[in-house]
Symmetry: C2
Subunit: 210 residues, 2 copies
Amino acid sequence: MINDIILPEPTLRRLPWYLAYVEILKARQVEYVSSTQISRALNVDASQIAKDLSFLSLKGKTRIGYEVDALVETLAGFLGFRTSHKAYVFGAGSLGAALMRDSGLEKYGLEIVAGFDVNPEKVGTTVGNVPIYHIDSISEVMEAHPASIGILTVPVECAQETADIAIGEGIHAIWNFTPYRVKVAEGIVMANTSIYAHLALIYNRLNAQS
Amino acid sequence: MINDIILPEPTLRRLPWYLAYVEILKARQVEYVSSTQISRALNVDASQIAKDLSFLSLKGKTRIGYEVDALVETLAGFLGFRTSHKAYVFGAGSLGAALMRDSGLEKYGLEIVAGFDVNPEKVGTTVGNVPIYHIDSISEVMEAHPASIGILTVPVECAQETADIAIGEGIHAIWNFTPYRVKVAEGIVMANTSIYAHLALIYNRLNAQS
C-alpha cells in the first residue's frame, strides 16, 4: 500500500510517532485505540491526530476508535516502511560504516546495496555485508544494482561534488548527514539529518542551565 | 570558549552550516570571507548570517569580512565542539552500536563513556571501545564515570522507561533516536533525531514523483 499524495512535512513527522505508539499497544495485545488515547500518550491534539490519520483514509469508529492491528499495518505501509527502497552510502568513513552496519534500517524499508569511497584501502572490502566500490565505478554499479537514494556521509568538502555525481548517475533523493548545505536541482528529494546541529542544541541548553 | 546564552533553535541549526563552509575555506587557505559570500554559498540571507554571527560577538570588517581562521575557532568553540561532553548510549542494538563505533562524534565534542543494555550477551563486552553495562548498574557507573547526556537507542517500548531511569540517575539531556515521543520534566534537555521521519519523507516525495 503505497501512497502517492504529497504529505505535509509536519504530518510526516507525526505519523511515525503514532506508529511507534500503536506498535507498543499491539505488543500488549490491545485491540482498539482512540485518538484521545493517542493524544494523551503523545501530547498531540486529538483533532490533529484525526486529521493526520484521515490522509490514510482511516476513520475511527465512534466510541471504539481505531483497530490497532490495522492501524499498525496501514501506517507502516503508508509510510513506505513495508517496501524495500534501495540506497547507496557515499563515504565509508565512521558514520557511513555505522549506517551500513545498522541492520535496523531494513525494518524501515531501507536497503543499502552499495557503498562508495575513494580510499583504496576501503574499495573492494565489505562493511556489514555492503560492498564498497570506488566512486569512479558508480555508472557500472548503477547499472548492475540500481538505487534511488544516496546517503551522504562524506567529508564536508566533498559533499556537494559527491551529491552532484550521484544525481548525475540517476540518484533521485539525497539523505544528507553532513553539516554542509548541499544544493540540488528542483525535483531532487533532499532530507537533512543534522546530527551536529542537534549536538550543538544539547550543548547550548546544558550550558545555559549550569 | 563556552557560551551561556540560550540561542534560538534556527540559529543553532544554521551555525553548523557556516562552520562547515568556513572549514572548507580554511582548508583552501582562504583568509577572509564576507557574509555575502557565505550567503551565496549556503542560500541564507546575508543579513541573517550577520545577525546569527553577532551572537558570537564576531563582527566582520567592512569590505574584508570575517577572518576565516578566527571564524572556524570561534564557531566550533561556541557550538561546544571543542569541549568534551560525556554521554551514555542506552540500547546497544544495531543503531546504538553504530553510534558507539562512530569515532567522528568525538570531533564534535561527544565522548561516549558507557553503553547500557539488558541483553546478558552484550553486558560485559565492549563496542568500539565503549564498555557495555547492565542498566541495573547505572548508579555505580554514574558514580565512577559520570555523564550528562543520554543517547536513546532502545526499542520503542522501552524508550520512556529508560529515559525515566536515566534522568532519575542524573542525566540532564536526552538525545532520542527512537520514534517514540519521550516525555521529560521541565529543565531536562530533549533533542529528537527523527531518522524514521526522514525516511518517510524521502519515500513519500519519491513516490509522489513516480
